[in-house]
């Protein structure tokens, strides 16, 4: 965990120092060097929470090996049960992220482009809760394809890659080309990683924060509405393994 963060920091520092040196500018986009490094650290830490307890291939595996059957027998909703499981697994990640933030942030230096404040921290919490839920629902979709396909691993990895890239887990989306900004603002990905990170860095106004929360909630509903028919259709095909 700490090694991961250290490697991430070294890579970020080397990359962005080179970018700033090459451009000869104080700001790239709207970010100074300390600000962009803070973004890198914070998106890493919030990302750990958003992805926390990630079931990864658990749902697909349960469809493949028939373990899904026991959940179909219990008087509970499978999706809710799995989310409860994921929520239970997220707490170690939250704790680790807090410890890592406390260790690193005091040494980050001051920045003109970010404003770490307790208000940002408080505003970040509902953003993280919604992002965690949205990440879970979006992760279900490729896994439910396991009802039809013999292997969904590559689909899941592809989905994860797209999510990370378009969610701002590598660089802030404001550094993407101008023509893509409109689409990126509408798509659900930015609400997973970039939005909670910008909130915590004090770069989102209260109005934008409320709009972002609402948009994220709408995406949760939209994704759920996509998952439900796929789940129902998949259930019709489920064999419970073997005849």
């Amino acid at each position: 965990m700490f090694v991961n963060l250290a490697v991430q920091l070294v890579v970020l520092w080397a990359l962005w120092t080179a970018v700033f040196a090459e451009s000869g500018k104080e700001l790239v986009g709207e970010w100074d060097l300390t600000g962009i490094l803070s973004y890198g650290v914070m998106v890493f830490l919030t990302g750990r929470v958003v992805r926390g307890g990630d079931l990864q291939m658990a749902v697909a595996s349960e469809i493949y090996d028939g373990s899904l059957s026991r959940y179909l027998l219990y008087p509970l909703h499978y999706g809710v049960a799995k989310y409860a499981q994921q929520l239970g697994n997220v707490f170690p990640n939250i704790l680790q992220s807090i410890v890592m933030a406390a260790c690193i942030l005091p040494f980050m230096g001051s920045s003109s482009s970010v404003d770490l404040h307790v208000t940002g921290l408080l505003m970040c919490m509902p953003s993280l809760i919604l992002a965690h839920l949205l990440f879970y629902i979006m992760g279900l979709l490729p896994q439910l394809v396991a009802f039809w396909a013999d292997n969904v691993w590559s689909l899941s990895v592809l989905m994860r890659f797209i999510t990370m890239l378009l969610g701002g887990a590598t660089i802030p989306l404001s550094l993407f080309p101008e023509w893509s900004q409109g689409a990126l603002a509408i798509l659900p990905f930015r609400y997973l990683f970039e939005f909670p990170t910008l909130v915590i860095l004090g770069k989102v106004s209260v109005n934008d924060w409320l709009t972002g929360l609402l948009t994220c909630a709408v995406w949760c509903v939209v994704m759920s509405l996509l998952v439900i028919p796929v789940w129902r259709r998949g259930n019709l095909r489920y064999t419970g393994v073997g005849i």
Binding site: G66, S67, S69, R70, L72, L73, Y74, P75, L76, N235, L236, Y238, T239, G240, G242, I243
Partner: protein, 331 residues
């Protein structure tokens, strides 16, 4: 409690010949075959009844149980369990049923039994007092009180199965499906499980459907059996009657008094029945059920007999013949 009408399940299975070229070809064009797992099943099961579902591997027993527990959807037909359509998976229905699969662990392997049961208490919303009483009763009946706090993965197969039984019955289901509950267990544990199921039936009177390859399970637990062959139900009735109906003969065994058998004696035996077996002074003959008294009297008259016994054929033999494909109904 369980009513099944013309239930049918067809699986569409992808067929792929071996080899790389076939694998590549199947990316573009796939051959499918339809496998009929259950064909027009019709039966009912009443409260307190244990019905044995018997059939060879792949006959469709587990598919039938999966449909009745709501895990899979049928291709056609209807079923009502406790008045519910099983595959609608209503919570009120799922609170009243249970499925135990001997070949598939359903408990959480990393947790001790006690924690698994607490989790199930929450899932089924069992009142604490009822839960404590039921858990205490079941652990005593199965004698696993000491193993409750041990991780499931560290228990023996027999202990695990006992834990599975407790987990399945904690919420006092009114319908219980048992899919090979004694598979892989030693004789003592098999007997313990059977005794437990009988005492549970006596106290709670649930409707039970049991599938098993062990005839002793069937003989000890079921008064009624359903025989399924290649998806079709070929017999539904009393376990005892299966012999009368499908094995219309008895076996006479004679111990002769120091008598050597000549050719004419052998001819007499052959005329009186079928499948004559002669081993030194012991002769056994298969005789039609209606002629048994007459044949026995005739043999006693003709030969000096030390001992004579009349036996029913083995149930397992009759069922094996039925499952194997001989259709007595046409005879």
């Amino acid at each position: 409690m369980i009513k099944v009408q013309n239930l049918r399940k067809v699986f569409r299975v992808h067929k792929k010949p071996p080899g790389l070229s076939a694998s590549l070809k199947s990316l573009f064009r796939r051959d499918w075959i339809e496998k009929v797992a259950v064909e027009g099943a019709d039966f009912t099961v009443e409260e307190g009844e244990i019905v044995g579902l018997i059939g060879a591997n792949g006959a469709g027993k587990t598919t039938l149980v999966k449909m009745l527990s709501g895990i899979i959807h049928p291709s056609a037909g209807e079923a009502r369990v406790l008045g519910y359509n099983p595959w609608e998976k209503q919570d009120a229905f799922r609170r009243q049923i249970s499925l135990i699969m001997g070949q598939k662990a359903q408990l959480w392997w990393d947790l001790p039994g006690a924690d698994c049961f607490q989790l199930l208490r929450e899932i089924y919303q069992i009142p604490q007092q009822q839960f404590d009483h039921q858990l205490n009763r079941l652990t005593q009946l199965l004698n696993v009180g000491e193993e409750l706090n041990i991780q499931i993965r560290r228990l023996s197969l027999g202990e695990r199965m006992k834990m599975e039984l407790i987990a399945a019955l904690l919420h006092s289901p009114r319908v219980v499906y048992l899919d090979e509950p004694t598979i892989g267990l030693d004789i003592t544990t098999q007997k313990a499980v059977r005794d437990f199921l009988l005492s549970y039936r006596k106290e709670e009177s649930p409707a039970m459907i049991l599938t098993s390859h062990y005839m002793e399970d069937i003989e000890r637990l079921c008064e009624r059996i359903i025989i399924i062959r290649e998806g079709e139900l070929i017999y539904d009735g009393s376990l005892r009657k299966v012999i009368e109906q499908y094995a219309p003969y008895k076996r006479l065994t004679l111990h002769l008094q120091n008598q050597t058998l000549d050719e004419s004696s052998k001819e007499i035996f052959s005329k009186m029945g079928e499948k004559v077996k002669i081993q030194s002074d012991q002769v056994s003959i298969q005789v039609p059920r209606t002629n048994v008294t007459e044949v026995a009297a005739e043999l006693l008259r003709r030969f000096k007999i030390h001992d004579l016994s009349i036996d029913e054929p083995e149930i397992s033999d009759t069922i094996e013949i039925l499952m194997g494909g001989k259709d007595f109904r046409q005879e």
